[in-house]
Subunit: 253 residues, 2 copies
């Protein structure tokens, strides 16, 4: 079972059905599928399905429960989320650290589950609800405007979970058809680089572009320039093709 | 000036005004405020203002332009975004690496700006638009469902930028009096880069090096090559000097 499948997103009393749909979409794009709602105001609702836009499967599989305790009953790791600082201070961790800790926890305990709690649009999670978790995840936001949309908060957390847990996902390679592209991007060897720079220098000398022979300072700058570009084998071929065309032009003249 | 203030979010032909508002909200929560739109279908629009929900300031200050070139004209770092793999492979980096690179770039070049391009809801960015950037940021998503909402994509990128730049947030102004060496290393503007590539294309056409006019695929590869090199102003001068020498040679022939 993939680690991402062991994470439940728990929405506590969401008010707007559109937000529920947007949350489903945020989750599914990152590969999460378990949604639990505690007393949603309106669900099911056409607005939720509309905003889910292809992630209806998450809504169809969602569970609706009456209390946060029920929602997290099977979870050994429970993390609340907040954008605010609290007077009563729970251990507060960043989304990144939360993702690392969740990854470590789920890797260490094969049959366990984790829950991430997201509070009401208006008032977040209560202190009692945060008490159910081991820590609160604080998404650092603009202190002048920390009004993170519910689905955006879910997006950030799910994104961090995905990044942290990707190492465990061997069946989802980042790039499926990269072989040819990789070849195209493969850096040229030192020998190929030197060959190109030699060809370049010869061409510049033939062009009478250089004032001194050998044009040490100029070649130093061009070497630096092309080193920055980290030329691929294909790129060296293109550049040398151009140099040859310049030389052929000269021979004709 | 804070680093986050140097980043422009560029939406290319957004269709839905609601998305524009949601983008403004995503940006502002993370402390970004510069929004540029290329030919938005409907803007200004009440739906955008409604979804902005307190982030109207971003919409009021937003710029609307006709082309992506105009949008990024003042930016020395341009990054496109994508959730797909492309046949022609641009250097592809993760949101996290992009944030680190942008932080390093903006820290090193005090007066510079960066732009992050986000494509159309339906079809993303064109190859030509991706060509304007040094790299594409790929947000890794569920291969079965990668339909990331526009505002969600913006949220993830802005979140990573905020995390990376939080370390860089200091009131200490960077030295305004740059040394000559720094000037030499300063990245060329988008305008200077475009001028070089135009000059290069003309020269190649005159050399009869190209098989098709305009040599789109070749120029795409050369654009990528020189974007990788992050050319300085001085380097552009050198390269254009060489191109002029080639052209002079031809006129003599």
């Amino acid at each position: 079972m993939l680690l991402l499948d062991k994470i439940m997103v728990v929405l506590v009393e969401p008010s707007h059905p559109g937000n529920i749909g947007a949350v489903a979409r945020s989750m599914k794009t990152m590969g999460l599928s378990h949604l639990v709602m505690v007393k949603p105001k309106k669900f099911p609702h056409y607005e939720a399905s509309k905003r889910a836009a292809g992630a209806e499967s998450v809504l169809l599989d969602a569970h609706v429960v009456d209390t946060v305790e029920q929602a997290v009953a099977e979870c050994s790791l429970v993390l609340g989320t907040s954008v605010r600082d609290r007077e009563v201070s729970w251990p507060t961790i960043s989304p990144r650290l939360a993702a690392e800790q969740a990854t470590a926890h789920l890797n260490a305990h094969n049959s366990h589950r984790a829950a991430i709690l997201f509070g009401r649009e208006s008032s977040g999670l209560s202190n009692e609800e945060l008490d159910l978790g081991q820590a609160q995840i604080r998404i650092d936001a603009n202190s002048d405007y920390s009004s993170l949309n519910l689905a955006s908060a879910v997006q950030i957390i799910c994104y961090e979970m995905r990044v942290a847990m990707k190492q465990g996902l061997s069946d989802e390679p980042l790039n499926e058809n990269l072989t040819r592209a990789q070849l195209r991007q493969r850096s040229a060897s030192e020998e190929l680089r030197a060959g190109h720079l030699q060809h370049l220098q010869e061409t510049l000398e033939q062009l009478d572009f250089v004032k001194s022979k050998p044009p040490t300072m100029l070649m130093r700058k061009l070497t630096r320039l092309y080193n920055k570009a980290d030329l691929s084998i294909e790129e060296i071929q293109i550049l040398r093709g151009i140099l040859s065309a310049i030389q052929n032009q000269q021979h004709r003249s």
